[in-house]
């Protein structure tokens, strides 16, 4: 236990951890302030909508009337514009033609909602929101899975998972977690302090285990802490410069689970990062392997290694963080179809298995390797 306490202290005494926490916290605070001051508390009003509709109607009447008047000026030729004159001949005046063409119900009123919507933090299917849910002019663009039939089997396309500020930030923060965790152990190899540690505690599994637990606990705390801070930073904007409409208990429960999944993903990534660094003995190698793999894996599993896509660690990690599903490619005639392979829980299991294998390899290497 004292070894774990030492490793935790060391983790938090190091500059990379503190720099990431302070840097991200500062960025979150700035984002909260900017969000607050760039939104307006005014909800879209019916008067604004009416004025906007009238403006659109007037514009419509102007250009349709111009069409009728141009036809009239040319002697009401039935062949005007390839037979269009014959259609215009049904109307006795420009106003009559405009009445027909410019009816109120033809126009969709869009009134910009300048408020900050709290439900933008995360949502299940809404990929783009236009107006807070309590606005009668609100629109939401959803992206839901759809069903397909492959060789007689009914399957559906994968659920992409959640949208919003929190899931997106959670994924971005994972990169920072990789850097902090890799440098936590990489710094030990650079300074040679692994040797000093082993002169005090020769049970190598215990030494490595303390590093794993300290780094993964700290990664969890960093991820959950910073995402919670982000939520807190946006609440003033939602309360005083926007709307908390739609933020019911289901919303908060979902938000909590999203943040929790982010924390678990960070802890698992810290384990993977440490394992790579233990084997390679270099911080840079750990960062390059994990971030490099994340960068190239989409290209690999969607081209030459399609069959491996459901096993791809990046796919599974992203699906877990987003609460979505992992896809697989199936051949359908001459084309390929992208359908669901497994859900969020299985995605987590995949990442856990990879982390366990990484720990076993790194532990074997760490226990056997000469320290010189």
């Amino acid at each position: 236990m004292s070894l774990l306490w030492v490793e935790l202290r060391r983790f938090w005494l190091r500059r990379p951890a503190r720099a990431v926490v302070i840097g991200v916290a500062a960025a979150v605070a700035v984002a909260g302030i900017v969000t607050f001051f760039t939104h307006s508390p005014e909800a879209p009003s019916p008067a604004t909508a009416e004025a906007q509709l009238n403006e659109q109607l007037a514009e419509c009447r102007q250009y349709t009337g111009d069409d009728w008047r141009a036809w009239d000026a040319l002697g009401r030729d039935p062949d005007y514009q390839g037979g269009f004159g014959e259609y215009l001949s049904q109307f006795d005046s420009a106003d009559e033609y405009a009445d027909e063409q410019c009816q109120r119900e033809f126009f969709e009123v869009y009134v910009p909602d300048k408020r900050y919507c709290l439900v933008g933090l995360w949502s299940e299917d809404v990929s783009y929101r236009q107006g807070c849910p309590d606005s009668e002019y609100a629109q939401a663009f959803t992206e839901e899975p759809y069903e397909v039939v492959i060789d007689g089997e009914r399957v559906h396309t994968p659920d992409r998972g959640q949208y919003g500020v929190i899931p997106a930030t959670s994924l971005a923060l994972l990169a920072a977690v990789i850097v902090v965790a890799a440098s936590f152990v990489g710094g030990e190899y650079r300074a040679g302090t692994i040797e000093t540690s082993l002169l005090w505690e020769p049970r190598r599994w215990r030494v490595l285990g303390a590093k794993y637990v300290a780094a993964s606990l700290s990664a969890f705390v960093i991820q959950v802490g910073l995402l919670s801070l982000l939520v807190a930073a946006f609440i003033p904007a939602a309360v005083w410069r926007g709307s908390t409409a739609g933020a019911d208990s289901e919303f908060w429960r979902g938000l909590f689970m999203t943040i929790l999944r982010g924390g678990v993903a960070a802890a698992l990534l810290a384990v993977l990062a440490i394992s790579v660094v233990v084997v390679t003995k270099h911080t840079a190698a750990g960062i390059a392997v994990l971030l490099g793999y994340a960068a190239i894996s989409p290209a690999l599993v969607n081209t030459i290694f399609r069959s491996l896509r459901p096993r791809d660690i990046s796919e599974n990690l992203f699906a877990f963080v987003n609460g979505g599903e992992v896809a697989r490619w199936v051949e359908s005639g001459v084309s390929r179809q992208y359908v669901v392979s497994h859900g969020t829980a299985m995605a987590l299991l995949h990442v856990v298995v990879y982390a366990a294998v990484a720990v076993a390899i790194a532990g074997f290497v760490f226990a056997r390797r000469d320290v010189d």
Binding site: S2, L3, W5, V6, R9, R10, L13, R14, R15, G187, A191, G192, T193, E195, T196, S197, L198, L199, W200, E201, P202, R203, R368, D370, V371, D372
Partner: protein, 308 residues
């Protein structure tokens, strides 16, 4: 009595994918008695550091065994680690932490009282700079901190690899006194050093290794005495004297000074040499036996021009 360090048939071979296997330590046997200061000497690459690393469990031996305070390092090192302090080559600490923080982390890991940190910092003269970052320390200060870390546990056995590295003359003297104090307090200090003069002054016993093998070991006086030391004869007629002595069966070489001859004879032969010369009507004006230094013995035994 159980030896403080007992090494039996220790062998370490390094193998590389693209290089020939290198034998760093070859079937080394060594016993270091409990109490006192034991010097460990050898030229660069002789296998000293590898031996120390094997003793501290950092390197896995290819064959053989090491026992520290009677405990087998290979299987039960953890049982004895609280009684052993180790320093291998250069000091290794977290560069951005202060000296005090580095020691506090080590102490906390093994439940050593935090007050002990200030105590050992004082013992090595680092109290004034204890809160500065380790990276800002001079090499000598880093070395002092490393020695302080080994003292934290109040070990019965101290294993120090080049503890005086980077220290100025005053620092070397302080280190020597510190090591001697430990040796005299009943603890055992196993120290490898480049400073042969220092080793001669502070060690009770020494071992010299070369090419991974033990060359000699024993009490310092015994190691020095075991080596051949010439008698230096000062005489006016060196040519005649050399002729007389050769006829008497002694080996004779010209000495370093004018009128000096080096005679291959031990101290017990001095009266015979004097008489042989006097019988030939040659009277010496001086006769002495040079005091051998550990450095001279070391160079002779290891056959290397470079010093350790």
């Amino acid at each position: 009595m159980e030896a403080a360090v007992s090494i039996r048939g220790l062998r370490k071979v390094y193998t590389g994918l693209r290089s020939e296997p290198t034998v760093a330590v070859a079937d080394l046997d060594l016993d270091i008695p409990v109490g006192g200061v034991f010097g460990f000497l050898g030229p660069n690459g002789a296998g000293k550091t590898t031996t120390i690393r094997c003793a501290l469990g950092l390197v896995r031996p290819t064959a053989g065994e090491v026992r520290l305070l009677g405990v087998d390092v290979g299987s039960r090192l953890v049982e004895v680690m609280d009684r052993v302090g180790g320093l291998v080559e250069s000091p290794k600490f977290f560069p951005t932490f202060s000296g005090r923080q580095n020691l506090q982390l080590l102490a906390a890991g093994r439940g050593v009282a935090t007050g002990r940190v200030d105590q050992v910092l004082g013992e090595v003269g680092l109290n004034d700079r204890a809160d500065d970052r380790f990276a800002s320390y001079s090499l000598g200060m880093k070395q002092r901190l490393a020695v302080a870390s080994t003292l934290l546990k109040e070990p019965e056995l101290l294993i120090l690899d080049e503890p005086a590295n980077g220290l100025d003359p005053a620092g070397i003297k302080e280190m020597r006194e510190l090591i001697r104090r430990y040796g005299e307090s009943g603890s055992t200090v196993f120290v490898s050093s480049h400073q042969l003069g220092e080793v001669q002054q502070m060690c009770d016993s020494v071992a010299i290794i070369n090419h991974g093998r033990l060359v000699t070991a024993g009490r310092v006086e015994d190691v020095l005495a075991a080596q051949w030391v010439p008698l230096v004869v000062t005489i006016a007629d060196t040519v005649a004297a050399a002729d007389v002595l050769r006829r008497g069966g002694w080996g004779v070489e010209p000495g370093a000074g004018s009128g000096e001859l080096m005679v291959s004879a031990g101290p017990e032969d001095a009266p015979k040499v004097t008489r042989a010369l006097a019988d030939a009507g040659l009277y010496l004006s001086g006769l002495r036996q040079d005091r051998r230094t550990l450095e001279a013995v070391f160079l002779e035994l290891t056959g290397d021009g470079g010093s350790e």
